[in-house]
């Protein structure tokens, strides 16, 4: 798995856009809206490699913070211009409101690409990049408010261990969110999806990234992955409560959610 992602790292984002025709951006946006984080949230994004979830988190929290600030200012419209300016200074320090995201990935190359992207896009505060294995996280118990793993869990050899680790590092009340390819039950759609996956995606891999084999592996790993109900059961086995899932695009992708209580 490591070598697959070493090859894949640099062209990861381009490939994602090509394979999903850009829809993966929508899926990730939906995940963020479902999470609905408020400022001050500490997020752990596992297998977060190139930072897609992390950047969305920061954008979301920033906009929430902005709205809160605006509401506060509307309240204080009788303040003098000087006092308004000073309140800007005070809150500018906290444009993120103490929210933080830790991006954890097992692959150094993916993290490198992520860091470069962050620099390029102008993300500096609130981000940490940590090398780590989802089956054995380098973090202490009860630390995070939210744990996400987007399109990463199917690459984990022992999913049950990853789920246990997720449970361990979440604070009580913390939320587990998993965005992953899943099972399409509609038979017609399923056939079309298979056709596209097996015929088109490796070709895209060869043409765009010069790597047929990694993308063949990708498509096969999606088929091997447990379907919605099975994954739900596994998440419950790890100790999570109120486990639920939401299908996106007829089950091509699903968001699983659970709480540590």
């Amino acid at each position: 798995v490591y070598q697959v992602f070493e090859n894949v790292a640099k062209k990861y984002d381009v490939m994602n856009d090509s394979m999903t025709l850009g829809i993966h951006r929508v899926w990730k946006d939906i995940l963020m809206h479902k999470m609905n984080p408020c400022p001050g949230t500490l997020l752990l994004d596992v297998a977060g490699g190139t930072g897609d979830i992390a950047f969305r988190f920061i954008n979301y929290v920033r906009s929430v913070q902005q709205r809160q600030l605006q509401r506060k200012l509307q309240h204080h419209q009788n303040l003098s211009w000087q006092e308004i300016f000073e309140s800007y200074q005070k809150d500018k320090f906290n444009s993120l409101g103490d929210s933080q995201v830790v991006v954890c990935d097992i692959n150094r190359e993916m993290l490198k690409v992520g860091k470069q992207k962050a620099q390029h896009l102008g993300y500096s505060e609130g981000l940490s990049w940590v090398l780590g294995n989802a089956e054995e996280l380098p973090f202490d118990d009860d630390k995070f408010d939210v744990y996400t793993i987007a399109f990463g869990i199917r690459n984990v050899t022992r999913i049950d261990l990853a789920l246990q680790e997720a449970y361990r590092v979440l604070k009580p009340g913390g939320r587990f969110l998993c965005l992953e390819f899943s099972h399409v039950s509609n038979p017609l759609l399923s056939r079309l999806y298979d056709l596209y996956s097996f015929q088109v995606i490796p070709v895209l891999g060869e043409v765009i990234a010069g790597d047929w084999k990694s993308y063949q592996y990708l498509v096969e790993s999606i088929r091997q992955f447990p379907p919605q109900e099975e994954l739900k059961a596994m998440i419950e086995d790890a100790g999570f409560f109120k486990v639920d899932y939401e299908n996106l695009n007829f089950g091509i992708v699903a968001i699983h959610s659970g709480f540590k209580l």
Binding site: S190, D194, F198, E206, V207, Q224
Partner: protein, 240 residues
Amino acid sequence: PRGRDGRGGEEEEEGWYQLYPGHIPTSPLQKALLAAGSAVMALYDPYRHDMVAVLGETTGCLALPNLRDKMKNHPEGYRILQERPRIRLSTLDMARLQGLPDGSLGREYVRFLEDNKVSPDTRMPPKFVDDEELAYVIQRYREVHDLMHTLLGMPTNMLGEVVVKWFEAIQTGLPMCVLGAAFGPVRLSTRKLQVLATELVPWAIRSGLNASCVLNVYYEQRWEQPVESLRAELGIFPPP
């Protein structure tokens, strides 16, 4: 994770298996998509030599058997198919070739490699050819390409490559060569295009038509032969 028998399994087990190391079996649809995709990518990014290679493999289904038969029906070509020589730095005795007299094939070939700073080891091994012998034929074509440059006296700049492609297109009939010959000039300046159109291409075409099949020459056994003599033997007209 627990394995699941997805529909994907059926699609792959259509009696395909690896015919040679590096072989990736592909369906007709995949070949078509690859051909289209590699053509676009090769034009978009000329440094993607792997795409030119893929284009050659996916479109060569008519030309390659043709070439193979030409080789089979020729005594020297037949021997090449049997013995499967490979042109690689590890198999070439560079010191010996450099010591050969000026004007000999070996000496000029080494000079060409040095002047243009290329190596025979950078040729892509075939992946999408579904026949082991044809895979060798295309491999041989790739490895002999530098010798084409030497015989035609063309450098590895864009102009030189286009000229060689014209020659190869006539000689091999590979669609990839034809496309390369037709679209390569797109990136040339008008002055170069003029030289190309008036002198170089007509010469390349005449030589290509006149010459016997260049893949039927056992180059590894002819290092001492003077380039001019080999040209005459093959029927390549002297370069302008």
